[in-house]
Each structure stands twice: as C-alpha cells, then as structure tokens.
C-alpha cells in the first residue's frame, strides 16, 4: 500500500510534503513582496509641504521697463522687457538646479555653480546648461496683480502685454 502511494508520487502526483511546502513558501513570498511594496510606498510622501507653484508677483507698475527682478522665495525672474511686455523666467539653472544671479552690469543671468550664462530671454550663452531657462505662465488677475504659475511652462515667445 505504502509503496503504491510512493510510486504514484514519483509518477508526477504532488507529494504531501511538497504541497504544504509550496503553500508555506507562497504565503511567505506574498507577505515579503507586500511588505517591500508597502515600505516603498511609505518612503514616498503623499503630501509635501512645499511653497505653492502659483504666486502673486506684484503690480505691473512695480517693475520699471527693461528690468529683471528676482522673486527670491519663488526662484523666478519677473522680466519687463520693454514698456508693458512681461514674462516670468525660471531662475533655476537647467544644468543642476542652482539658483542663478542677475548681473545688471553685464546684462546677463549667471549661475554661480558651474558657470552657465543666459541672456534676459533665457537663452544659453555659455556653460554646461543643456536647455534655455523656461518661461512660466503669467496672467494679470482682477486686482491688477501679476500671477505666475510655475506648473505651466509656456513657449519662449510668450509675453504678457499690459
């Protein structure tokens, strides 16, 4: 009798031991994969308390014609190109994320970290930066305030005429 069962096992029918081992290992594997996935989720914050992407930059008359003004907390330049033409230029270098400086005496935007240089339109003049500085969406709200939205990148020709 015993011999018969053993032979059956050899023929390909699963043995009792193998069956229970499989169930046990399967359960442990599922638990292990689940806990790795949950830990991965835990490490990724669902809410980040970071400065909002949309902000009020000020009134158009605060910016003289031909000026480049850094909104330091937001890392955005408010540029008034000529009388009444505005655009918002990112102040974050496209190379490795340092904040750039406006050099009024040279008329350029320069990054202190690795020497990238940009003109007031955001075009790269020198250095390792791979892309021009992006422009962000800028609108005039009901109270006459310039509102910049950093989550919306607009084309390089976009200006706001006030």
């Amino acid at each position: 009798m015993d011999k018969k069962i053993e032979e059956k096992g050899k023929e390909g029918l699963m043995s009792r031991r193998f069956f229970f081992e499989s169930i046990g290992l399967g359960a442990i594997s599922i638990a292990a994969i689940g806990s790795i996935a949950l830990t991965g989720e835990y490490l990724s914050p669902n809410v980040v308390r970071e400065p909002p992407m949309k902000f009020k930059a000020g009134k158009p008359e605060d910016f003289p014609a031909g000026s480049v003004t850094l909104a330091a907390d937001q890392k955005v330049y408010i540029v008034r190109a000529k009388e009444g033409y505005f655009y918002a230029l990112s102040a974050v270098c496209t190379h490795l994320g340092c904040i750039t400086n406006w050099k009024p005496e040279e008329g350029i935007i320069a990054c202190p970290c690795h020497g990238s240089k940009f003109d007031t339109e955001g075009n790269r003049i020198a250095g390792p930066a791979p892309r021009p500085l992006p422009r962000f969406s800028m609108v005039l709200d009901d109270q006459g305030q310039l509102v910049v939205d950093k989550s919306l990148v607009v084309s390089e020709e976009t200006t706001l005429k006030v």
Binding site: L43, S44, P45, V48, R49, E50, P51, L96, G97, C98, C113
Partner: protein, 236 residues
Amino acid sequence: MNRLTEQLVRSRVWRSIFRHGLPLSNRARAEAVFYNFFLHVHPTKVRRRSIKFTYTWGLGGLSAGLFIILTVTGALLMLYYRPSIHQAYWDMKDLQFVVSSGQFLRNMHRWAAHAMVAIVFLHMLRVFYTGSYRPPKEFNWVIGVVLLVMTILLSYTGYLLPWDQLSFWGISVGTNMVRAVPFGTGDRISYLLLGGNIVGENALVRFYVLHCFVIPVAAMVFMGIHFWRVRKDGGV
C-alpha cells in the same frame, strides 16, 4: 600581589569569562585566541611577508580605526544636533562656540571623515598594486568596493547636516544629478531621497537617518564580512 592575581585567575567569575588558563602553554595560547571574540577571526597562520608593515601600510586598520573615531564623535555630536531646518545650523554653531569641546569633536569628526575617504582610497590602491584582489580574494575586492561607495555616501549624506549654503547647494546639485538616471527612474529616486521636490525638512531628516543609522549599520555588516574573509585568506 602574585597570590592575589592567582586568586583572581582561579575565581569562578574569571574562569567563566576566560575559559582557559593563563596562556602559559602553547595549547592555552591557542585557546586564548580561539575562545576570544575579538581574536577568533585571526587566521591560523600568517605569512611573514604579509605582516611586514610596508606590505600593507596598515591602511585597512587605519580605515577601521577612523570608522571607530567617527562613530564615537558622531554619537557625541548627535546629543546637541537636531535635524530640523530651523535648528540644524544654529546647533552646529552652538557646537562650535558654546558646547565644551564641541569645536574639537566637530573638527575631529570632520577631519576623520576626510581622512577616511583618502585612506580607504589608498587602501584600494595598495590592494591593487600588491595584486591582493586575485583568487581566492576576488569577492573580497567586490565587498571592498561596496565599502568604498559606503564611505563616500557617508561623506555625502553628512555634507547636508550643517545646513549652510555649501550643504544646501551641494545636495541640490547631487540630487539633480540623480535625476539623470535613465528609464524614467531618476526623478523617482530623487523624490524618494529628498522626500519631496526641493531640499527641505524631509530631505534633512532623510539624510540624517541615512548618515547616522542606515549606512553605518550596513557598513558594519560589510566590514565584518570583509575582515573575516581577509583573515580566513591568510591576511593579518
């Protein structure tokens, strides 16, 4: 005095700790090594050539010594340092100007950290030039490379903790470099490292935990394996 020593050595407490007699015979000397936690990793025999100082320059031992200095000074610095963006910089300044021996401990930690990177690198060069990466030690070379990477990561994660301009932009640049990892995973890794999109509170706490717990513990495990393999392969 001799009688007192003898009494002490024969006492039950002593013999429960040291389970062999005074190492007077060769057998007791061997037992003294085998039964001691700190000595048991020693090889059974060492080649005369490999204990020559100018063969190893003691660079591995120096690295381990620096790691111990860094652990001790680091634990002491942790008593006054709080990883919060409002406090970190001022706690660091307090350590420099207010806390007794604070400046000394901080500088010791800093110089030992710089020295460890240099010494670990020199150790790697030595192992390369003496051909000590050859079989059967190839895998120990791999563990050594892991330890070198951990040394550099410890250095880098510690860089953010003073929370000054150098720290801030150093970590900004580094985590932006991580974004260059291909297959769309770069941004994800950077987000997980920083705990957000910018170098802020979450990033500081994460780097603190990595610097003070995760990487040191991992490094200790790898160091244990590294030393054990060195000695089983006949090194010092």
